[in-house]
Point group: C2
Chain length 105, copies 2
Amino acid sequence: MKLAAIYEVPYYAVIFTSVQTESLEGYGEMAEEMERLGSAQPGFLGIDSARSGVGITVSYWRTLEAVREWKANLDHLEAQRKGRVHWYTRYTVRVAKVERNYEFG
Amino acid sequence: MKLAAIYEVPYYAVIFTSVQTESLEGYGEMAEEMERLGSAQPGFLGIDSARSGVGITVSYWRTLEAVREWKANLDHLEAQRKGRVHWYTRYTVRVAKVERNYEFG
């Protein structure tokens, strides 16, 4: 149970919220693979993820260019396509510039 | 299992991530009360929340002024204080300007 750190502002957060289908075959492996690939991308800072009913994943990136490169990554595009066909009934994506951050503990 | 809508950009997201203690007495009632009060604040747009190991709550606001007013709300300040004393071993707060959003499904 580890949270991502806070970082020097400004940086970018990609907020992904989702509702899953009941046919999750292949999902776990793909999610792990995407976390591995994404965290190796240039400009990746960290990620937080939780699911209970809905799922929320927030990934943190140094620049908007880094966000765009990851979105356009070919393996990631294929994962996005499979997600729409098989795993998600609904999702939202928000790209947001983090202007302030602080922590406790 | 309902996700918040997407909204006209720009708007603000407050990303709250947390790790809880094992003494959650009073937490559930307070969380419900804060969701009720927060969603009645001027400028409140919506909220998404999930917990599995870590917790992630993202609330959406029309302006930075609305974010500041909610942060300074007296009942909310008391909830924040109790959170630090009783319910959270660690948390992070990020205030971010949503520049793009889209949805599927």
